[in-house]
Amino acid sequence: MIRVLVLTALGLFASLVSAQSSHRVPDTLAQRLQACTVCHGAQGRATPGGYFPRIAGKPADYLYHQLLHFRDGRRNNAGMSYLLDHMSDTYLRDIAAHYANLDLPYPPPLPPAASPAALARGAQLVRQGDPVRGLPACNDCHGVRMTGVAPAVPGLLGLPRDYLIGQLGAWQTGLRKAFEPDCMARIARQMAPEDVSAVASWLAAQPVPDPAHPQAALSGPMPMDCGLTPPARSRQP
């Protein structure tokens, strides 16, 4: 009897201890990547009003290349570089694929803050470009719905205006780079400051189509030579 009591007491104690110490989390990539949610929002959808870009649903190679760029210093954000500093190329690919495969609905955009004339100029740049300035239409590379083109050209909708302006500015000053030939750097340097503002305002004011998948392929050739794959060597330990 005493033995039974002692065993029961021990059992109760053990279950108490284990109840207190058992705290489990899912063994998933989404759980591993909780670190990204503070800035990019739950599931990587960000918010239309802030600065941080959505990452969910963007083409996988595009996301992978950006992770490489941050880790290897072609894009400059101290926080991103620090997070990626000790990651293998393989893990970066896994992360990119995870976010690329998410299919999320997007909230409607914020009302545009620009004048109707600026928005019209933005729409013109997106759809027709500006031959005088040597600017191709955004649609030519980023897709007719501006949701990007698989595997490596990003969609430009569902991004905050400040982020878009920040990126075009960074390309103009050389703070953001892509693989050579860096066609976006050439394009951004052709853009006047008011063009940057106009195109960012128009893009940020568009709803994200549902579904937001990137286009499978471009219908014609790209208007410029663009480096869409990493050079042979990458910093793999």
Binding site: V25, R32, M87, T90, Y91, P237
Partner: protein, 421 residues
């Protein structure tokens, strides 16, 4: 003796001391330039190359000698110190900008004596205090490995040091005070494994370069007793104190696992140590890891100084509990117990409970992932709270963690956080 005679003797002694010091400094500065490499060195067998590659991993030469996104070993990484910024050099065998013109004698003299091929004294940010212990054959293997790399033309960047630290005389003085060339000697009373571990840890792996205190003149204090990184924003904990990072009481498999995989259920590597694991120890042969483990487990135990316990203000702890409930509890659990295989326990986690809270503050501000290694290829991450939490909120949650669930470490102030941010 007259006053004048006494003054004369004193002046004489003083002058003699000055002359002696000048002589010593002069001797430090008198190293000759070595002739450039004539022809190509003899070809090297694969075993030597593999040994050189493993030594380069153990020394993590690449981490300092590679710029972010740059060609491996081609230099350009900036190292910030209290004396200014030093730029790591190009180690690839390129003739004009790398080590292409270096003979094996010149390379040996650099590692053993801290003198460049042209006779200039090298800055001790290049850890020749430690590489001086390497055996000649190993230096030659490293040399052979570096010569096997693709040559990269990349001119070295100039250091940006404050006066007078940018002078050779300052370096000569530092060396007189701090540097003694000394090859490793096996201790006969110890096992071969221990001796191999001592050789690696004290020598090429230069663990003591970070895990030791430094004085205001850049001289090293007691080896392995813990020290701040040169920028003061990380603390390399004591390897002598089991309450800091000492592993004297750990099972062999755990020490080896942390060096190899960068992560255990109850301990992880972050910041500078994650870099050491990612580029260095995760690639080492198991026998070398075992040797290092043996040596580290047998380091003498010496407790670090712990200040008297001081409780945090109740208001700060209340705020800390709120922040914890909002941002930390989902991963680290309501009792700070962590989640197995994913998130570290915070209750009893010695890395958070050291006298200096800088690493705990860093973890909260910068977040981060353990290094991605073969043993832990998809590490779990912690968000950076830098943009989300104020200095006061970080101080509050750090204080809460340091004083909950049986944890008893000093409070963290907003000023502590501001210094690290």
């Amino acid at each position: 003796m007259t006053r004048r005679a006494r003054m004369g003797i004193a002046a004489g002694v003083f002058l003699a001391a000055i002359v002696l010091l000048l002589g010593l400094v002069g001797r430090e500065l008198s190293a000759p330039a070595l002739p450039p490499l004539a022809g190509t060195p003899e070809s090297t067998d694969n075993d030597t190359l593999a040994r050189g590659a493993a030594l380069a991993r153990a020394g993590n030469c690449m981490a300092c000698h590679t710029a972010r996104g740059g060609e491996p070993y081609a230099g350009g990484h900036a190292i910030r110190t209290p004396f200014g910024t030093l730029m790591a050099g190009n180690l690839t065998p390129e003739l004009e900008t790398g080590l292409g013109g270096w003979s094996s004698e010149a390379f040996r003299r650099a590692l053993h004596q801290g003198i460049s091929r042209d006779g200039r004294l090298l800055y001790p940010v290049f850890p020749y205090e430690h590489t001086t212990r390497l055996q000649d054959a190993d230096v030659d293997a490293l040399y052979a490995y570096l010569r096997s790399l693709p040559p990269v033309h990349r001119p070295n960047d100039a250091h940006a040091l404050r006066s007078p630290y940018n002078t050779q005389v300052a370096l000569a003085l530092w060396r007189l005070l701090n540097f003694e060339p000394a090859r490793h000697q096996d201790e006969a009373t110890r096992s071969a494994e221990w001796n191999r571990g001592a050789y690696l840890v004290q020598g090429v792996a230069h663990c003591a370069a970070c895990h030791s205190p430094r004085n205001a003149w850049g001289g090293s204090g007691q080896a392995f007793s813990g020290g701040f990184m040169p920028d003061g924003r990380w603390y390399a904990p004591s390897l002598l104190d089991p309450a800091e990072a000492g592993v004297q009481n750990w099972p062999v498999e755990q020490v080896l696992g942390l060096l190899r995989d960068g992560h255990l259920d109850h301990a992880t590597t972050m910041g500078p140590m994650a870099e050491v694991v990612f580029h260095g120890t995760s690639h080492l042969p198991e026998a070398d890891l075992l040797a290092m483990t043996t040596y580290l487990r047998e380091l003498p135990v010496q407790a670090a100084r712990v200040p008297d316990f001081k409780a945090a203000e109740p208001g700060l702890l209340r705020l800390g509990a709120q922040v914890y409930e909002q941002h930390c509890v989902d991963c680290h659990g309501p009792q700070g117990q962590g989640a197995a295989k994913a998130y570290l326990p915070l209750a009893g986690n010695r890395a958070l409970l050291m006298a200096s809270p800088v690493n705990a503050i860093q973890a909260i501000l910068s977040g981060g992932f353990s290094p991605a290694t073969a043993g832990n290829p998809q590490p779990y991450g912690m968000p950076p709270f830098r943009t989300l939490l104020s200095d006061t909120e970080v101080a509050a949650v750090a204080s809460f963690i340091r004083q909950s669930w049986g944890n008893r470490a000093g409070p963290v102030s907003p000023l502590d956080v501001q210094r690290v941010r």
